[in-house]
Amino acid sequence: MQHFISPVLWQFLVKWLTHFAIFPPEASTIAPYADALYFFLIVISVIGLGAVAFLVAFFSIRYRQSRNPVATQIEGSTLLEATWTIIPLILFMITFVWGALLYFRIYSPPPNAMNIYVVGKQWMWKIEHPGGQHEINALHIPIDQPIQLTLISQDVFHSFSVPAFRVKREVIPGRYNTVWFEATRPGVYHLFCTQYCGTLHSQMIGWVYAMKPEDYQAWAAGSTSGHSLAQNGERLFASLGCNSCHNSTPNAHGPNLANVYGSHVQLANGQVTTVDDAFLRDTILNPTLHEVAGYAPIMPTYQGQVSEDGLIDLVEYIKRLDSNYRIDQTIDNSAGQPVQTGATPGGTSAPPLAPGAVKP
């Protein structure tokens, strides 16, 4: 072969044709489960396709006109038809149950997952770590640690996909979606937007950096902006004037927000609902959506006044408000970064209180 084409071109072709991806890396705890189902599906597909191909090929040869000039008319056969109804049905039901188990595994985060916020916008990913690390089109995570992402879009639909982890979640305006994964192998993996989102859809890509826990610690300490999301939230809380009603004075116009996250509140229409991220976000933007019993509906809407990032700051602040408004003020954020504490109410991680931080 080398005689016919230039050795350089030959080398290039060989390299090109032998170095292309055919299977994505398995880099999360979910990936082996997804791949197992995939191989099962491939096996039943090959069997199904093989059966059809065999029947068609065999009959075509055996009953071709030159060999079988006379067709025998056959009405049908209920037994045979029942067979090829029931066997696929059973296989499809196995697939259904298997797929459903996998789905619930992928979309049910474990309670000790570390939470990271993701805001999608045309055409970039903004990643916000509670400790105040902000990233664009990059996500640094420790391995062997469940990570939950809370995803929201500030404009159109996007979709957050990490093929190496076999997870994907639509990122929708006006709604928090979540997804979780636990990386198992350090490495750099593709991060794609898979929902068509306009001109630069194909450039809304980035990298996921899965790091050993100690490397992650080093990265987190070196990359923080110095202000945790909750601290940003506190400033926003004050500047928007939220504290003029949501304070702990006896004649406050609004509910006291300490420890409200994760609690059950009675609404004016009698329903009881759990306060989660989405509830907090909705009540800031659209206070009449969930009117809390016992309070007059006087809160103005903050629609258009707070960005999605600001809302995340506020939500993060209210989440951590466990006795009064000053709790986060003394956190020295540059000192240490998200070590998993795992036991905070609501199942989210909290940056550790710096040594010497006092709850007043």
Binding site: T72, G76, T95, A100, Y103, F157, S161, V167, T199, L200
Partner: protein
């Protein structure tokens, strides 16, 4: 029970003196016709035109994806090109393909009627299609549209400054042409069957069109409403889908897929009808399990309405509703499996020949089986998370829509070409085209399954370099596929003048359409046929031929 059928000697066949083609002359006689056969021909010309526009767009897409960078087309242009490809192929080719052309031509003849129930509405349907087509061409000429064929809100309503409103209205109008076709078929099949033509004597082609028509009539209005809401949202901002006004963008997804999933069955069911006819004819044997095949069409139509949310498994619908929709998706796969095996069993003890329509039908069997089975991958909840919105989806629906429906359409066009034109297509080159199409198709779309599992997202103008080799394979296959589609255009046109005269029943098929002259009279039948035999009754045909020979002799 056995039947010998040998193809008639065509050397003595003559074109009939009077037929629907030459009864009247002039452009006006075509444009103002009420004849379902002439309307079918008008439709066939128009959808072929749009098919090749959509195909040119596909060629541009594959050329762009030859390299990992967006170097041939700018991103915006690429987005417009794949949007145009999707919109044209779905709404201007696949939806009307078999029903509006072959179905329009054959449904009245197959049930033994002179015409459809509402000939003028039938003509109106074609005019609506043309109006919608002109609007779509205007959209393309004046800057294009880049919403993707799915019109996803809020991208389409708030974030694009292209011709979204015109494109939406074009699809809206095209939708009505499809509603009118479906309405006509339903009424015709219910009310205009010839004496003796009971429901269970109808050819399976009619059954599958009946099921598809129900979907058209019940599903398309929902699409129309959705598009009107998109247009209103864009023009006056009514806020139904806008979260900042209290609307819900997921509502759009629900409404859109409530039509667009059944639309998949609108596209594939008529194709399945074609396959039933072709496989029966070329194995000279009745379709195995007629009732099962007939009812599986209806079952697909019914279940098809209750699976739409499987397009939304990752969008944050509740886990439990996802569970229900996944289960129903698995159930809708079963009738398709039944059909495949019944067609395979039809070959058993047949007397099989391999003319072009049969080759296309075999292609359909293989490719549709792959398309259907990969649909099971996607219906399986946990697997869908990884596969959805990647090239796996693209490969899956191209296997169903192109490998399935387009193969069936070409099978049908070749099969009924002698009936429509009175002349045979050239057999050798058309077999070559069928094989070329199959090879080109597999080479184009099979690598995309691999790309999909690797995670390559769809609708990307540029992609990571490690995906290039598979994309080059795919683009190479597309070239072969393109040749496979150009060949029929050339030799079918050639055959209009130079093809051999076909005679009334070149395939010795049993359908009523084969018992009349080719091309048929404007009135189809000289006198209303009285049907005494079931569909695919080859013994009846053999006896009939014998009697005819004795009378003539």
């Amino acid at each position: 029970m056995s039947t010998i059928v040998s193809l008639p000697d065509q050397s003595t066949a003559r074109l009939p003196k009077v037929s629907y083609l030459n009864k009247e002359y002039g452009l006006k006689s075509w444009l103002l016709t009420g004849d379902h056969k002439r309307i079918a021909v008008l439709y066939m010309i128009s959808i072929t035109f749009f098919f090749f526009i959509g195909g040119a767009m596909a060629a541009l897409i594959r050329l762009q994806l030859l390299t990992p960078y967006s170097d041939l087309l700018a991103e915006d242009t690429y987005n417009k090109v794949f949007t145009a490809h999707g919109l044209i192929m779905v709404f201007f080719f696949l939806v009307p393909s078999v029903p509006a052309t072959i179905g329009n031509f054959l449904i009245p003849i197959m049930v033994g009627a002179k015409d459809l129930a509402f000939p003028k509405i039938n003509l109106l349907s074609w005019y609506l299609y043309v109006a919608a087509g002109i609007m779509m061409l205007c959209v393309l000429t004046f800057g294009g549209v880049d919403t993707g064929w799915t019109f996803t809100t809020p991208l389409s309503t708030h974030y694009l400054n292209t011709n979204v409103v015109t494109a939406g209205l074009a699809v809206f109008v095209a939708g009505f042409s499809s509603i009118f076709t479906g309405l006509n078929f339903i009424v015709t099949i219910h009310r205009m069957r010839a004496p003796g033509m009971t429901w269970f004597r109808l050819p399976l082609f009619v059954w599958s069109h009946y099921a598809a028509s129900i979907l058209m009539v019940l599903g398309t209005p929902v699409l129309a409403i959705t598009l009107v809401l998109v247009v209103l949202e864009r023009t006056i901002g009514i806020g139904v889908f806008d979260p900042t006004k209290g609307g819900d963008p997921l509502l759009f997804q629900h409404l859109f897929w409530f039509y667009s999933h059944p639309a998949v069955y609108i596209m594939i069911l008529p194709g399945m009808g074609v396959i039933s006819e072709v496989i029966s004819t070329f194995s000279r044997k009745r379709v195995f399990g007629y009732t099962a095949v007939a009812f599986s069409s209806v079952a697909i139509a019914v279940f098809g309405f209750f699976v739409w949310a499987h397009h939304m498994f990752i969008m944050g619908i509740s886990n439990y509703s996802a569970l229900v929709f996944s289960l129903l998706t698995m159930l809708v796969a079963v009738p398709s499996a039944i059909k495949i095996f019944n067609w395979a069993a039809t070959l058993y003890k047949g007397s099989i020949t391999f003319e072009t329509p049969m080759l296309y039908a075999f292609g359909f069997l293989g490719l549709f089986t792959i398309g259907g089975l990969t649909g099971v991958f996607l219906g399986s909840l946990g697997m869908d998370i990884h596969l959805t919105e990647t090239y796996f989806i693209v490969a899956h629906f191209h296997f169903v829509m192109v490998g399935g429906m387009l193969m069936a359409y070409l099978a049908g066009v070749h099969f009924w070409w002698p009936k429509i034109t009175g002349r045979m297509y050239p057999e050798g080159v058309s077999r070559l085209a069928a094989v070329t199409t199959f090879i080109g198709f597999v080479l184009t779309f099979f690598p995309q399954f691999v790309l999909g599992y690797l995670g390559m997202p769809r609708r990307y103008a540029a992609y990571p370099p490690e995906f290039q080799v598979l994309n080059v394979f795919s683009s190479a296959g597309a070239t072969v596929l393109g040749i496979g589609y150009l060949l029929p255009l050339l030799y079918l046109t050639w055959s209009l003048k130079y093809g051999k005269i076909a005679g009334p029943n070149p395939w010795q098929a049993t359908g009523l359409e084969w018992q009349i002259q080719s091309p048929p009279l404007t009135e189809n039948f000289e006198k209303t046929p009285i049907v005494t035999h079931e569909a695919y009754d080859y013994e009846w045909l053999a006896n009939k031929t014998k009697n005819e020979v004795t009378t003539v002799g």
